[in-house]
Symmetry: C2
Subunit: 182 residues, 2 copies
């Protein structure tokens, strides 16, 4: 950030009164510009024991497999965002959404929220951000070709919980390392 988005004059980094960290502050109108973490919402859609994955058509990690997920938009709920992303990336409708995983990724100021859900009628397609989509059983998952550590961890936990047979308790975890750059 170099310029104030309200008045167009240059900003400086300074610690505002009654604050304890530097913020971009306008040198002209004194407006303080806060920057905060972003939320990524996604689904783990299941149909007859198999999970729906998307092969990414866009960077980062183009060609790798992921759960349908993306940046939460204003004026939606986390579950609405997860449903929207699932439609956009896999042309799939889902039901019975249940919050399953929260990942903190402080290195890149992101919070991931994955909803476990049912893929309605087993129908899906291919959205513009995907090269391909498909349902996978545990042994069919392309474990070495997954796009992000949070996807691998969510899938591993899902199959573990399925085997344990005691439901799908909500999990919270932190990704300490920054994901690999492409």
């Amino acid at each position: 950030m170099k310029y104030c988005s309200a008045c167009g004059h240059p900003v400086d980094l300074k610690i505002p009164d009654n604050d304890d960290r530097e913020r971009f502050t306008c040198t002209q109108c004194n407006l303080i510009h806060y920057s905060n973490p972003k939320i990524i919402v996604g689904c783990l859609p299941v149909f007859q024991g198999r999970v729906l994955l998307c092969k990414r058509a866009i960077e980062p990690r183009r060609g790798k497999w992921t759960l349908p997920a993306g940046f939460m938009e204003n004026n939606e709920t986390t579950s609405q965002g997860a449903e929207r992303e699932t439609w956009e990336e896999a042309r799939a409708r889902v039901s019975n959404l249940s919050l399953y995983y929260l990942f903190d990724v402080p290195g890149i100021s992101q919070v991931y929220l994955f909803y476990l859900c049912s893929l309605i009628d087993g129908h899906y397609g291919v959205g513009p951000e995907s090269l391909e989509t498909a349902l996978f059983s545990e042994s069919e998952i392309p474990w070495d070709e997954l796009a992000f550590p949070v996807v691998a961890e969510t899938l591993r936990s899902y199959f573990e919980d399925t085997k344990a047979g005691k439901g799908y308790p909500m999990r919270v975890d932190t990704v300490v390392r920054k994901p690999r750059n492409v």
Copy 2:
């Protein structure tokens, strides 16, 4: 937003290629400026069955009681943010954090996350954003003087779960109405 924060030229609202909604886009450098929901992180600190509340010293809802909570900062985890806010507002240290409540508030593009936790040694004080802090049992809670609906709902659920005696399962809820303006 009126000006590009990267180059200082005016922005326009337009729908970028391969997108489906309007974004502020620079008329000069074409940078797209995304706006996304913000996360509020907080704690429900408990000591010997009583919960720690803070009387707000700042707007909105100055003079009303709240759980210690505030905007999540970059480069922290949700639980670190909740601990930080609890220190800032109530000079209290907490342990055994367990995610208890997620509230979607789509009307104002916010997501609240409350962690249930233990107040270490029962010690607390008064931070600069609080007029007063105190521990309350259920019957002592100033129910008509709570700052926000999410605070009332979190407290009601906590005392319900305590009475039920089956633990504190994580809850997800949506606040449909926009909170009253002061």
